[in-house]
């Protein structure tokens, strides 16, 4: 009799376990057959009523059955789990726990990127002081006192507290700019990074390949595109036989590295007191990528790109072959050495690259702004 029971139980159990579709039902089946009050336990209880031989056989059979069912349930369980039929809900959409990191200011990021391009070409990076002498900022760079070319470099002067105050009142800003009689030795906030060029050349003989990142200051009224403090990167290369074509090549490589290989460069004659010949460098507009024609017909006005104004070009650099007077000032023989220099506004480049329309955002330091870069 008990034998029949075992086979019967096994069949029934196998059927039930196989048909189970979820972990809960499987759990119930396990309790039903293998639980302390379960069917198998019930059958074990019947053993006492059997003969010694029967006990042994029946016990073995029951144990085998128990093992089989246990195995079956385990297999089924792992099958159900694997099939994902059902398991405890693990909500992966809960947010991961983040250790917040900070970020470098976007200007620092751009500065690093710019310098890295030149470092790859063999340039060194140096920094110079922000308080400069008139000699380094102007005279040494072939910008004589009271020359109209100084107009482009309106400058903050440091108040001389040693007793020699400027006689003019501060009512009119232009009045406070020193006249020739006073000019020469006054301290100022550098209006470009070029004075570092003078400092390096006064310290070392060529060959020199140097870039100088840093802050510069000009008393400009602040608006969306002007700031009285901004950043520049100055660079120069001096050696025997450096040519204008080298300037073109180096700056072209630079522009392509910074803005992408498809970018074109354009060199336009310009005037800087410290270079001759001089060139302004434009890159093809990285926003509209419009066909490169400088002056589109006025009918197209509505479709003008807001960044390049429809011109297709963006001015990013000033450059040129270093003026012989600059070489003479630092004691180089202009017949032996030639070289080129260039300078760029970092904010402008960052604004172009990141699509920022207001220069003031760089100095407001709103964390919602800073965290984006």
């Amino acid at each position: 009799m008990p034998m029949v029971d075992i086979n019967h139980v096994q069949k029934e159990a196998e059927q039930e376990i196989n048909s189970v579709a979820d972990l809960t039902s499987l759990g119930q089946a396990r309790v039903k057959y293998l639980g302390r009050q379960g069917i198998i336990s019930g059958l074990f209880a019947e053993i006492t009523a059997l003969s010694k031989e029967e006990k042994a056989v029946f016990g073995r059979q029951l144990n085998t059955l128990k093992q089989k069912l246990d195995e079956l349930i385990r297999d089924k369980e792992s099958f159900l789990k694997q099939a994902g039929a059902e398991y405890e809900m693990f909500d992966v959409t809960l947010p991961g726990v983040i250790t917040e990191i900070g970020q470098l200011h976007p200007l620092t990021q751009i500065l690093r990127e710019i310098c890295a391009i030149f470092i790859r070409m063999g340039f060194s990076v140096v920094e110079g002081p922000e308080i400069e002498t008139e000699e380094n900022n102007f005279t040494g760079l072939n910008i004589p006192p009271d020359h109209p070319s100084r107009d482009a470099f309106d400058t903050f002067y440091i108040k001389d507290v040693s007793g020699l105050r400027s006689p003019v009142s501060g009512q009119n800003r232009r009045q406070a700019i020193p006249l020739r009689a006073q000019a020469g030795d006054r301290r100022l906030l550098r209006s470009h990074t070029s004075p570092a060029q003078i400092r390096v050349m006064k310290s070392l003989k060529p060959p020199l390949a140097v870039v100088v990142p840093g802050k510069v200051y000009r008393p400009d009224a602040t608006d969306a595109s002007h700031s009285f403090m901004f950043h520049q990167v100055e660079g120069f290369l001096v050696d025997k036989n450096i040519r204008f074509s080298d300037l073109k090549g180096v700056l072209d490589v630079f522009a392509k590295n910074l803005f992408g290989d498809e970018v074109k460069t354009r060199f336009r004659p310009h005037f800087f007191p410290f270079t001759e010949p001089s060139a302004e460098v434009d890159v093809s507009c990285i926003i509209c990528k419009s066909p490169v024609t400088s002056h589109q017909s006025p009918e197209n006005k509505e479709k003008k790109c807001s960044v390049c104004g429809g011109k297709g070009w963006l001015e990013i650099l000033g450059s040129g072959m270093i003026h012989p007077n600059v070489f003479k000032h630092v004691g180089y023989d202009p017949e032996t050495y030639t070289g080129f220099a260039f300078g760029m506004g970092v904010e402008r480049i960052a604004m172009l690259k990141y699509g920022i329309s207001d220069i003031r955002m760089f100095f407001e330091n709103d964390l919602r702004f800073l965290k984006q870069f």
């Binding site: 390096v200 074509s245 060199f267």
Partner: protein
Amino acid sequence: MKTTYNWLKDFVEIKLSPQALAEKLTMAGLEVKAIEPKDGDFVFEVEITSNRPDWLNVIGIAREVAAITGKKLQAASPKPQAKKSLRPEACGLKLFSVQIENRKDCPLYTATIIEGVKVTPSPEWMQKRLRAVGLRPINNVVDITNYILYETGQPLHAFDLDKLTSCKPEIIIRRAKKGEEIVTIDGLKKVLNENILVIADANKPIAVAGITGGKNTEVSEETKNILLESAQFDPLVVRRGVRALGISSDSSYRFERKVDTEGVGIATQRAVELITELCGGEIISCQTQGIKKPRLKKKKIKLSIEKCERILGIALSAAKIKQILSALGFKLAACSLQLAAVYVPSFRQDVSIEEDLIEEVARVYGYDKTPSTLPYIQPRIIEALKLKHLAGHSVDARLTREIKNILTASGFSEVINYSLASRDALRKNRAEGLIQPVEIENPLSKDQEILRPDLFSSLLASTAYNLNRKNSRIRIFELGRVFGAKNNSCPSESLALGLAMHGKLDLDWQSPGRREAGFFDLKGCLEQMFSKLGIDGYRFIAEESPLFKQGVSFAIMLDAEKIGLIGEVDAAILENYDIKQKNIFIAQVSLQGVARRFSAIKAFKPYSQYPSIRRDISLVIKKDTPFSDVREIALASAGGAVSEVSLLEEYCGKQVAEGVKNLLISLEYISSERTLKDEEVDVLHKQILDNLVERLGIKIR
């Protein structure tokens, strides 16, 4: 500078469309900023660089157009004066003299008297062109002077002759007397001084030389006789006048950049021609004072074709170079195949060296046609720190780079604030009188009065700005220059690092109830930074500062040198910045100080291959016993076996007696030679406990 397409066509044949012409001009260095169609013509707005005053007129630009398009400049050939030049004595009527007080101020002055003019509106064609370049037509005489200014670049001025003091007809070019006054043609009353050059009659100034005319001698509808001035004034004197008076005009703009000596006479002739044609009248006399006309010496520059190639990187033929320079008005005489003598025309004051000529050649030939090459750059590392004229002005770039990387990894975002600040920043920081700031002589606004002496006001301003915008979690740093007035005179600058911290710790929804960042979080950032930089030997010692809350104000010492400050910002200071929040922590560290101990060279230190053993100690300690004492004893007592002392918890709650606190610390024992046995550690640990009890009076729990 504005000009028009048709006006240019008066002087050169142009086949290009206005757009194509603009493109060509731009690529030759005359950047056309805008083209505007107007009255059947096109107005070009051209940006003229400060070295090219000869482009500040239509003929100058036409010459450029001719050169770049290979056409000939049709010079406005002024006809010889309509009437033969009369000597003043001959007419007897208006005897006058021209006197120049100082030839340096006014190298050349010509005065032409024309009698019997009829002042009417100028003809429509002239008005149209004047309007196109942005001028308001006045009357035929004034319009003619303006027209010629635009056409030739030579400013002219017409005086009403009858309004000059007639008892003694004379023109004096002299410096103004201090306090002398003039009412300008715009009706502005200006007080003059000895730096300003004026044109005067016997009694009074009638014009500010080169800048503006006077109202009292202005040409009006009643004017019958005029005195026409064409002159050259010292650029510097005009420039000073412009600054002093705050008046700038088309005339002064050109005088400041020096007008062409040759143009003075040409403009007069052209004006006389137009005046007699359009206003009637008769030339009575013409007087010239100053430079004797033929005295002009032509500048000669030697141009080597080899040098041209050496600078540009392209070989241009002698013929090409000659063609370009000739078209621009230079005269060439070949010295040899490789060398040319180039004579510079008078209007090209900007050209004085060979490189100037090379630029002209390259410009007209086309920068775009010169090749691009990559130079050989000599392998060489230039370090500012080792340079005579830069050392002391910079720190190792690797240090600043490392610091920025460490701090961003620690959760701090970099800010950049203006180096200029208002004097009020000192008051806000209660630093008035304590700090002598470097002052700016010509600030544009109150926010630019001084150079920041430290980073505190910058950091607090950035903190306030963000808190006001509900950016409530502040972790910012700035690495920038700060300025001081050394010895009361010589301004100095140095690099400083500033940090500010406020607000809850990182968001973690699995353990909510985040605490606020406190002093030790900021201190920890600095410690981490120092550790990563390989700097030890720093300490924090109590030092009061007007910026910080009493008791939470410390100096950061590196060996015996003070390199910074750290503390909790005082409530009164926060109020000055309108910060409502509390618990704002700030630190500043001098980078020069850190740099002295920083080395970019990193060296591997072997660590033990054997396992370590940890033992915790729970102890009760007097509140005024510094933790550093516990740490030092633990490190010193076990003969180097303790590698690390960690503070796990500090507790001074209700269950702890008055004046003491509980500390839970953890010690790590390790040997570099073998695996330590438990029994060995037991002995060492007991030693440490004994020492702590004995020397600090602690209780072990």
